[in-house]
Amino acid sequence: MPLLSVEGLGIDFGGLRAVNDVGFGVEPGEIVSVIGPNGAGKTTLFNMISGAYRPARGKVSLDGEAVTGMAPNQLAERGLSRTFQNLQIFQKMSVLENVMTGRHLKARGSLVADLFSTPASRRRTAEARTVASGLLARVGLDRAADQQASSLSYGALKRLEIARALALEPRILLLDEPAAGCNAVETEEIDHLIADVAKSGVAILLVEHDMKMVMRISSHIVVLDRGEKIAEGKPEKVSRDPKVIEAYLGVQEGSGHALG
């Protein structure tokens, strides 16, 4: 049984079927990519899986447990974490604090202890700081640790979100366009990072427009078009699928995101 499994998932916005009857599974250590033209419903699918939207139809299970429509924090407790396409950074915190907050589930404790700064409370914060510093080093942001998060570049913020998501020690990680807006070097760094994380046994679900990256690192690809799954399989199989090619060319008329 896959770690994350999605069956028949769908949602409507004002009578419009934004996503309909989408299903797939993700195993530990696997990288599954969701691709499709703009407006295909990729981010909506992510939002349903991660609890931001409540799906109208279908089922999401995590390790066999039905988690459909659970709040994001309940999913976090079950080891699901994510990043956001349009960045959801804690702007007014320092870079380090952002990642420390990502460690919330391990760092939290009694509120009273936090109010009076008991040794236990300080110990929890110190542990979070140590882990967070390590993660910042891993994504190459250790030198920016004390800066205010809002001062970072777009690419750096993307990496910061990944570090924050990793602080949770997730079993499954949803990454929504982690390489968008990054230059070639940064993209390659993220590329390695994702592969690395997957290798440690984390299941990864990825939405990405950079087809080179998708083809290179995905173990499995799901293709969406107008809210429906039109193809699924290994990268080389999907890239030859006529339906996929048509979906892309038909919508985008050969613009930047054609299949590599």
Binding site: F13, T43, N47, A52, N86, Q88
Partner: protein
């Protein structure tokens, strides 16, 4: 039975005044996402300017027009000098700015005018009409008629005219509105002027009924704000229904239950409505985009 009708007449009159204030809130909110807590001061200015002009010998209709224009000008100034400069400040900052404006205008009115209560005669006299044992003031009819008329005009304005739609677009997405060629600064000023004018109109209409003074803006702002939120902020029909509902709840509670806690009942109703409908009665449900 006549008692009940009398309560309804009272509630409708006062409720129509709340509705006018709430409509004022709605217009500015629609253009800028700002809830203007200085809205009550426009109500005050309407009454005070009209009274002092009238006392100086200006005929009442002209005095009222003068007050509306004066309020509109102050509304535009408020937008140009404060709101526009604040930009995309958080909700609390905007609350403080508009409350600051309210305190400023009240302080100014106290200096320019005076601290006494004032009144001028009703538009169609002060002789009440008796309809089957129920007393109706002609001025009360004026208030209700104008509130309904303003609502209809606003409804047409926002749904049928290009300018009205441009104001809505400005609120929805300032940048996009600019890109499609809407002069967003002008739309903001226009909506402040419109809102201030409607507030002043409410003040002018109510002065023969409930008197005016430099400090009656706050109670009107509170009730108008509550009415707008009850109906759903930003929706004209919500403002109208919210205002009338608030006035009716107050009058019926005072008449049938307890005059001591009529305001309390009004706020409890608001809390209960918001519990079931967090966007108010007619508010649009918004979905957070992530």
């Amino acid at each position: 039975m006549t008692e009940l009708l009398q309560y309804l007449v009272s509630g409708t009159t006062v409720g129509a005044a709340y509705a006018l204030v709430a409509l004022g809130f709605t217009i500015i909110y629609n253009a800028s996402d700002v809830v203007n807590f200085a809205q009550g001061e426009f109500v005050m200015l309407g009454g005070m300017v009209t009274f002092f002009a009238w006392q100086a010998g200006v005929p009442l209709p002209l005095a009222a027009l003068l007050a509306i224009v004066a309020a509109a000008v102050i509304g535009v100034l408020l937008n140009k000098l404060a709101i526009e400069r604040a930009g995309a400040a958080p909700v609390v900052s905007l609350i403080i700015i508009t409350i600051g404006a309210s305190i400023f205008l009240r302080g100014g009115a106290q200096l320019v005018f005076d601290k006494q209560l004032h009144r001028f005669p009703g538009f169609s006299g002060d002789e009440p009409m008796n309809v089957g044992g129920v007393t109706i003031l002609p001025q009360g009819l004026w208030v209700v008629a104008v509130a309904v008329m303003v609502f209809v005009l606003l409804y047409v304005f926002f749904t049928r005219t290009l300018t009205g739609k441009a104001i809505l677009a400005t609120a929805n997405n300032r940048v996009a509105a600019k890109l499609v060629g809407i002069n967003t600064d002008y739309m903001m000023s226009l909506s402040f002027a419109l809102s201030a004018a409607i507030g002043a109109l409410a003040g002018i209409l109510m002065t023969p009924i409930s008197l005016t003074s430099y400090d009656l803006g706050v109670p009107f702002a509170l009730k108008g704000f509550a009415a707008a939120m009850l109906g759903g902020m930003g929706v004209p029909v919500g403002a109208l229904v919210g205002g009338l509902l608030l006035g009716l709840i107050e009058a019926l509670t005072a008449g049938l239950v307890s005059s001591t806690y009529k305001d309390a009942v009004a706020f409890i109703v608001i809390l209960v409505v918001l519990f079931w409908m967090p966007q108010g009665l007619f508010g649009r449900k918004s979905m957070e985009r992530v």
